[in-house]
Symmetry: C2
Subunit: 388 residues, 2 copies
């Protein structure tokens, strides 16, 4: 790479609100999105909530001349809703489906059926390796009383771990998607502290890049209720458009991810917060498992009683009538019980991973000459870090 | 690293057959396993089928002085059964749960409830990065008529992709576990061709290592029905014990994974075979989804008929009695339908990833001067490679 080398990368991201039969003006919006993407000719267009594979295929046909490479990430029952169109060849791709993603019995929220995931694309641009990630985390239906908080924190952690472990040889890391997180939310901070990624919206000058590269965000635009060329909105979400500029970095600009004392104590603090959140989520999951365990027991008792009544005569018809609902109760409670057992296991797994990172960050803090004794209290989780 | 540097790595692997209440002499075997591991003091002991977390905790207590680091990989409803004990600090760990893992209604086989996964450990040994993976793929219950073949091939592919994407900066890659595959089976070949890993059992001289390192397997032992010190078996599986030797490689010994023409055509051939297997699995999944779709339709018709009969009088009691089993039929068929829809999506996802790698391998073959026209026929999948 020459010293005066500059790479410009134009990126588009949109949550398309593409629910078949439910999202308004879907066909028209997909058509206009295709026209817009063709006209703008971005390097990379990353889309969420493209729930209908037919919509993807239609876009694929339309965008083929401008974006020769494309991929639709399939998962779960409905799908991940994620897809990508690229002007440059996609060298490799894979995906990771999140372990936890809401509750199957919350049918009106539907997230569980989607199989939310993170997709990874590896691109080679001017001799540099770009790892581009696209994701969609669990929706936030009630910010004040968010029953999905533990799941979203677990998803943010899995996302951070997936990026951390798959991007070790990448020169540039780009994460796009709908995180359903505000910039100061726990999940967002966890993601940033553990991966070293920066928010293009907040900090347009420091993106994650290897030492020797310097990525800045030259332009950053969002739509504001309507697409830039037609008056009507493209989606119920706004689109993001950014121009990233990759340059050779003079030494003082090197923005590689390093854990100095300040970063380390920020990491420790956010890990502790996430640990607490996952711990509470786990307690909740185990509480539900216990309750449904009791329901199963009661249902089985009821069934035994009904059997006795049916055999012994008396109110035989009533006993037979009540038999099937009781079986339903036992089976239903059994399914909910199994679900919450695996939920607790999933949260426990994320907590154990977090705890390990927390333990190592604390060791590094204790060993570093700048170690700050003020951060020593509150070690209760760290002391248990070896108990995974 | 000095030129005459040598690192010796002693590894132990065992499928422990640790099913609570069902596996014979479990407590005694776990106790003897702990004694054996303490006495032998391996660098790394990787275990599968440790289904009871209490067994892990007991081993953890016992092995703490010899193996200060340990981790239990939690997932699914029962767990992954995977755990690891290490003499060296574990720098990082994470896991990936396989998308497909059998059928929930095959309760007697139970794999679906386990949440089978691959666990990753990152260790730093003498300045080298070792990525150690432990896994357990779906069991093979009937080799002649294996209904789980497509799932196991999809798991082998996910495993290969996880290793491929997470080991890019590793100096050494070690995979242990119970693959439920013979050395010549499709899943095993797929794994070896895509990751460049070698089988320590078959080829004790060439392990995967970065250029400049040379890994050989100095000793390779398996138990033969009994553990080496006591007469009775440790498990219903045999244990593997290997001593790996990592040395500086003279140039002619460099065994880094490269895709020359021979490797490329082997890769293409195994990818095509796996593609066909996944395609057949997908057809099967869609067939089941269609059948259950019809059952749902019939169940709904029956319910409508029963409603009419109950309202219209006539055989009212019979109608009411049949009502609940019909609802059960519709709900049960609905659940099976949803399961097979997500199964088809999971297989389709693996097929698309495979197809992409296949397309790129063929492009590389076409471009290389040694390209062999004899391999040109049978491009039917390759031509669809861009349709992901």
């Amino acid at each position: 790479m020459k010293p005066n080398f500059t790479l410009r990368l134009r990126v588009f991201n949109l949550n398309c609100w593409g629910i078949p039969y439910l999202s308004k003006h879907r066909a028209d919006r997909v058509k206009r999105l295709g026209d817009f993407l063709n006209m703008e000719s971005f390097d990379l267009a990353l889309l969420e909530e493209v729930w209908s594979e037919q919509d993807f295929q239609d876009l694929r046909q339309k965008l083929l001349p401008t974006y020769p490479a494309a991929h639709y990430f399939r998962s779960g029952i409905i799908g991940s809703g994620l897809c990508v169109f690229s002007k440059h060849p996609i060298q490799e791709f894979t995906q990771h489906v999140f372990t936890l993603n809401g509750y199957p019995y919350m049918i009106h929220h539907g997230d569980w059926f989607c199989g939310k995931a993170v997709g990874l694309l590896v691109l080679h641009l001017s001799g540099l390796v770009l790892n581009a990630y696209v994701t969609h985390l669990h929706a936030e239906y009630n910010r004040q009383k968010d029953v999905y908080l533990a799941h979203r924190v677990a998803q943010a952690w899995e996302l951070a771990q997936f990026i951390h472990h798959t991007s070790k040889k990448a020169d540039m890391v780009l994460l796009c998607g709908d995180l359903n997180l505000h910039p100061k939310d726990l999940g967002c901070r966890l993601l940033k502290e553990w991966t070293g990624l920066c928010d293009a919206y907040l900090e347009t000058r420091d993106f994650k890049a290897v030492s020797g590269l310097y990525i800045s965000c030259k332009t950053f635009k969002t739509t504001t209720g309507h697409d830039p060329h037609s008056g009507t909105p493209l989606s119920d979400h706004e689109a993001l458009m950014a121009t990233l500029c990759v340059r050779h970095s003079p030494p003082q600009h090197t923005s590689s991810h390093s854990h100095g004392p300040a970063e380390r104590s920020a990491l420790i603090s956010v890990l502790r917060e996430a640990w607490t959140e996952l711990d509470q989520g786990m307690a909740q999951a185990l509480w539900w498992a216990t309750i449904t365990g009791y329901v199963i027991g009661l249902g089985l008792l009821l069934l035994a009683l009904l059997c006795a009544l049916a055999v012994g005569g008396g109110i035989r018809e009533v006993a037979i009538l009540l038999w099937t609902p009781s079986v339903g109760l036992v089976l239903g409670a059994g399914a909910v019980y199994l679900f919450h057992v695996q939920e607790a296991k999933g949260l426990c797994r994320a907590r154990a991973e977090l705890q390990h990172v927390l333990g190592r960050a604390r060791e590094a803090q204790d060993l570093s000459p700048e170690s700050q004794p003020a951060l020593q209290p509150g070690r209760q989780e760290g002391d248990r870090a070896e108990e995974q």
